[in-house]
């Protein structure tokens, strides 16, 4: 389980995250939702120790994040984080070199599924294909948890459909996924849990099935209640 406990993050005098706490469990897809600039990406960065926090702590399966944690949690940001002159093949070799949990069979499956050419240079890929390579490099690590920052951002409808398909496949099964997205419609039916972030605080945390069954509302209905009213 990913436990985010009372984290505080300030940029200068601005408090971006104020005592934020929530959990994301293994085997569930947890969606972190908030309008732009609300600190969603900062939370992802903080989990991966890519930005320091002023207070609070983050635990993965009850333990603080260390170098070994990076074998069981991967982060797929919305930017390309491989060297542009690398081909997809070189990027996979790089990952294989450093990650004990790299699963080449899974990488090959995704390469075929996304119809990517391993000889293509990363710099020459379209935005959609870049997002697919990011996904491939993250999901081919046999990690327990996956963090995804805006995986559908700025990409075409067909690529979005392909990426959404990944969420129902064996590639995600049994793993804990924490995702931020604006394109909630693409994966609404797949989300298990929603964490709503507003003004640096957790506004609401709920299981989607409970809201659907008990209140007869969709995720978008709840979002509208929180953010519009």
């Amino acid at each position: 389980m990913i436990e985010v406990k009372d984290i505080v993050k300030r940029f200068g005098r601005k408090t971006v995250l104020d005592q934020v706490s929530f959990t994301a469990e293994k085997g569930q897809i947890t969606c972190l939702i908030g309008i732009n600039g609300m600190g969603k990406t900062t939370i992802m960065n903080a989990i991966m120790k890519l930005t320091p926090l002023q207070a609070g702590e983050i635990l993965i399966d009850g333990e603080k994040v260390t170098k070994d944690t990076f074998e069981k949690i991967v982060f797929i940001p919305d930017a390309t984080i491989m060297l542009p002159h690398f081909t997809i093949e070189m990027a996979m070799e790089f990952m294989n070199d450093f990650y004990k949990n790299w699963n080449q069979r899974r990488a090959d499956d995704m390469l075929a599924f996304f119809k990517l050419n391993r000889k293509d240079k990363i710099a020459s890929l379209s935005k959609g294909n870049t997002a697919k390579v990011n996904l491939l490099l993250g999901l081919a690590v046999d990690a327990d948890y996956i963090l995804m920052d805006e995986p559908f951002s700025g990409i075409d409808i067909f690529s979005r459909e392909q990426i959404a398909e990944v969420f129902t496949s064996y590639l995600i099964e049994d793993r804990g996924v924490l995702i931020t997205t604006h394109e909630i419609g693409d994966i609404e039916h797949l989300i298990d849990k929603v964490v709503l972030l507003n003004d640096g605080k957790i506004q609401k945390e709920f299981m989607t099935e409970d809201v659907r069954e008990l209140e007869g509302k969709s995720v978008i209905d709840v979002l509208r209640e929180v953010f519009v009213q």
Binding site: K49, L50, T51, K67, L83, F94, D97, F98
Partner: protein, 277 residues
């Protein structure tokens, strides 16, 4: 340790193109220097022989022998060395900043690797050292090639041969990059390593605290340098040369080791706890 070598190999591959370009540039420009110096000399020789009908011994009395130190003292020789030094200085910063500011933010990938982050620091440091030694080693080989070219193109009666060791002794820049004495070599490169480590820490301070980090980094560089040379200043001013040179050297060496260890410790803390993407 295995991950350190993987990262080192990766960083070396990234610097390889720059290194090879610098080596080729150095060799070409210095060879041009050999030809320019040789042509200038032989023009003088020809003028003396044609206008005054001077014999070889008269020519040698008038313009002297042609030895490699004529080449070494020209801008064609010093220029590429200076450019290589500047390139290495620039690369000390580039090796970090390009991971943040390149087309893709590669620092995400590096910081998320399942390895101790200090390995990044040591891999980058070792890359700078190996790049420096490669350039110095190449320069020494290049001198031998250039000497051979000189011998082939200047008539032997006008050539005075000098050894590489003699060249290093007489030339201030060469004696600085490839000192003949082992102790001097260790001192100079020790100071070099310490300087790179201090600069790396300053860069990490800036990458961790951004604008404030520039101030912290600047203060750290000044404080670290002051601490190392403080005994020398105090010995000259307050203690009026009370300490022997050997004693002074030991104190400076000890302080150097303390600054080095503190700098590495601080860099490790910054990489583990404070760094920002």
């Amino acid at each position: 340790m295995k991950n350190f070598f993987k990262l080192l190999n990766f960083e070396l591959n990234r610097v390889m193109k720059l290194l090879i370009s610098l080596m080729v540039f150095t060799l070409i420009v210095q060879l041009i220097g050999v030809f320019v110096s040789k042509n200038n000399y032989l023009t003088q020789v020809e003028m003396l022989q044609q206008n005054d009908g001077s014999s070889v011994s008269q020519v040698l009395q008038s313009v002297g022998y042609f030895s490699f130190d004529r080449v070494v003292n020209s801008l064609f020789f010093i220029g590429p060395i200076m450019i290589c030094v500047a390139a290495i200085m620039f690369y000390i910063f580039l090796i970090w900043y390009r991971d943040w500011f390149g087309k893709n933010t590669f620092v995400y990938r590096l910081l998320m690797l399942p390895t101790a982050r200090i390995n990044l620091f040591f891999a980058k440091l070792t890359t700078i050292l190996l790049a420096t030694f490669s350039l110095v080693g190449f320069q020494l080989v290049a001198i031998q090639i250039e000497m051979l070219v000189m011998k082939w193109t200047v008539p032997s009666e006008y050539v005075m041969e000098v050894t590489l060791r003699q060249l290093i002794e007489i030339h201030p820049v060469l004696s600085l990059i490839a000192p003949n004495q082992f102790s001097l070599f260790m001192s100079l490169y020790g100071v070099g390593v310490l300087t790179v480590i201090i600069l790396f820490t300053a860069i990490l301070l800036e990458r961790s605290y951004r604008m404030k980090g520039v101030l912290f980094g600047g203060t750290f560089v000044i404080a670290a340098n002051l601490l190392v040379i403080l005994p020398v200043i105090l010995n000259e001013t307050v203690f009026h040369s009370f300490l022997y040179n050997g004693e002074l050297l030991l104190i400076v060496l000890g302080l150097g080791v303390i600054v080095l260890a503190s700098s590495v410790w601080l860099s490790k803390r910054l990489l583990d706890e404070k760094i920002r993407v």
